[in-house]
C-alpha cells in the first residue's frame, strides 16, 4: 500500500493524554474521539489536517496510558499513518492490534517541515519526501507483526487461526 499525505510534526514524548485527553474518554465512539485528536498537543490540529495526512513524531510517541482510544482517535480523524523516531510499547501494540499503520524512522523528522508531502510504501518500508525526492527506509517489522497487519488486526488474526485449527 502507498500512503501519501502532508506531514504534521510533533515533538518527543507525545503522551496519550495529549493525543486524546481523558476528559473525552466517557465514550469509545471513534467519530467523537476523532474530534479531539491531538487536542492537548495542538488544539488546531483537527481543523488544519486533511484525511490522508501523516503525523510525524519524535521519541517515545504514545507514552502514558494504555487507552486504545489514542490510535482509534488518530485513525478515525483520517490520519493515514504515524511515523516516529520511536514508539511507546503499549501504543505500538495497540496500533498493530487495531490496524493503524505505524513506522519507525529516526531520520525523517530532521528532513521535513510541517506541510511537506511524503509518500510511504508500507510493504517495502520506503519513505519518500516528494520535494527533493529524499528517500528514507523505516525499521523493519517482525514477520508476526506483518501477519497481524495483513490479517487486518489481532482479532481477525485470531479468528483466522481458530478457523484453521478447526479445519
Amino acid at each position: 500500500m502507498i500512503l501519501k499525505g502532508k506531514v504534521w510534526k510533533f515533538g518527543d514524548n507525545i503522551d496519550t493524554d495529549a493525543i486524546i485527553p481523558a476528559r473525552y474518554l466517557t465514550t469509545s465512539d471513534p467519530q467523537e474521539l476523532a474530534k479531539h485528536c491531538m487536542e492537548d498537543a495542538d488544539p488546531a490540529f483537527i481543523t488544519k489536517m486533511k484525511p490522508g495526512d501523516i503525523i510525524v513524531g519524535g521519541e517515545n510517541f504514545g507514552c502514558g496510558s494504555s487507552r486504545e482510544h489514542a490510535p482509534i482517535a488518530i485513525k478515525a480523524a483520517g490520519v493515514s499513518c504515524v511515523v516516529a523516531k520511536s514508539f511507546a510499547r503499549i501504543f505500538y501494540r495497540n496500533s498493530f492490534n487495531m490496524g493503524l499503520p505505524i513506522f519507525e524512522s529516526r531520520e525523517l523528522m530532521g528532513a521535513i517541515k510541517d506541510g511537506d508531502e511524503i509518500s510511504l510504501d508500507s510493504a517495502k518500508g520506503i519513505i519518500t519526501v516528494t520535494k527533493g525526492n529524499k528517500i528514507f527506509s523505516s525499521n523493519s517489522i517482525p514477520p508476526f507483526m506483518e501477519q497481524l497487519i495483513s490479517d487486518g488486526g489481532l482479532m481477525k488474526h485470531i479468528g483466522k487461526k481458530r478457523k484453521e485449527s478447526r479445519v
Binding site: A22, S66, I90, L154, M155
Partner: protein, 419 residues
Amino acid sequence: MGNTITEKILMAHTDLKEIRAGQLINAKVDIALGNDITAPIAIKEFQKAGGKKVFDKNKVVLVLDHFTPNKDIDSAQQCKFVHEFAMEQQVTHFYEGGQVGIEHALLPEKGIVLPGDLVIGADSHTCTYGALGAFATGVGSTDLAAVMLTGELWFKVPQSMKFIIKGKMPKWVSGKDLILNIIGRIGVDGALYKAMEFAGETIGKLPMADRLSMANMAIEAGAKNGIFAPDAITKEYVEPRAKRPYKFYSSDADAVYSDTIEIDAGKLEPQVAFPHLPSNVKGVSKARNIKIDQALIGSCTNGRIEDLRIAAAILKKRKAASTVRLIVVPATPDIYKQAIKEGLIEIFMNADAVISPPSCGACLGGHLGILAEGERAVATTNRNFVGRMGHPQSEVYLASPAVAAASAILGRIASPEEL
C-alpha cells in the same frame, strides 16, 4: 546462561523449554483486567469476533473505577454496558458501587493476583503487581478482548534492566522517591520495552506498600514490567490473601541484563517530578516557593493505608493552608474502613481535607478534583503530562504522601522537615 525472573515466569506460561529476550511467544494468562474506560472497547471486540463465553469467568476481572461514582450520562452508559456483560458472563471478580477500589490497590489486597502469575490489564499501571513477584503488564483493549476469547496473548520477551538499591533510606524517603529518582535518571523511555528488576539490600527490607508504588511507575520509564523477587515480606502479604496456589520465582545468578544501575538510597532526599514529565525530577530542597492550589493524596501509586498513615502523622493537629484544596482518596473500601478505625479520616477532616470515594477520577483529570487554568497541584499520583489533571494550562508536581501533606499545610511544595 541463566534466566531472569521475568523470563522464567513467561516461560512457565508456555510449552517452551528455553526462552530468551527478544523472542516472540504466545503465553497463557492467569488474570486479565479491564476497567470502565477500556473494557467497553474490549467487550465490543470480543462480541464482534463471535465471542460467547469468556475463557474463564474466574480469570477475567472488571473494575469500574475510573469515572465512578458515575460522573455523567456517558460514563454511566459505559458502566452499564460493562455491568451487563459481567452479569451475562457471571464474572467472579466484578467490582462496582461500594465494592469498588482503585484496581491496582484492590487486586493485590483481595489476593486476586499472586506471585508467579502472568497478568495483563487494559490499564497501563497493571505493572503494579510486579511488586508481588508476578509478571504483569499493561496492554490495550483489543489485547484484553483476545485474552477474554482465548486465554492467551502474544508477548515479546523483554530484556531486563537491574536496579541495585543500597543504603538506608533517610526519614521521609519512600519507595515513591526511589522510583521518581530512577525515572529522573533514565528518562521516560529509559526502560522502553524492558523489564525493570529491583534488587539490593534496601529492596530486601522495603515494605510491600513501597514495592507496589515502585512497580506501579515502571511504565513511566517506558518499561513493559517492573518486578521484585518475592521474599519473606511477599509471603507475609500474600499468605493470608491467597485462595489458590502461587509460586515464587527468582533470577539466576548468571541471568543476563542489558543494564545494571546502582543507587545509594542513603543519599536521597524526597523527590519531586516537575511538569510535564515524570522524569523531570529534582530533590524537594530544589522545589521551594512553588505555591500550590491543590494537594491530592491517593491513587494506585500512593492510596494505601501506609500512605494515609504517613500523611495523617504529618497532618495531625494541623490544617491545610486556606489557599489549598486538600483531597484524600483512600484507594479501596478496606483501606477506607481501616483509616476510619485508626482515626486517620478524622485527622484529615480536621485538617480541612475533602475525603473522596475510591476512584481514579482526579488522577486522570476525569472528575472529583479537576484543576482550572493556571492552577497547580502536588499529587501522589504517577503522571504530570500536560492537562493530566484538568486544564491544559494547569500543572502537576508528583511527590510522596509525606511531601504532599507537608505542602498542603504550607501552601507550597515543601519537605516535612520544614514543619
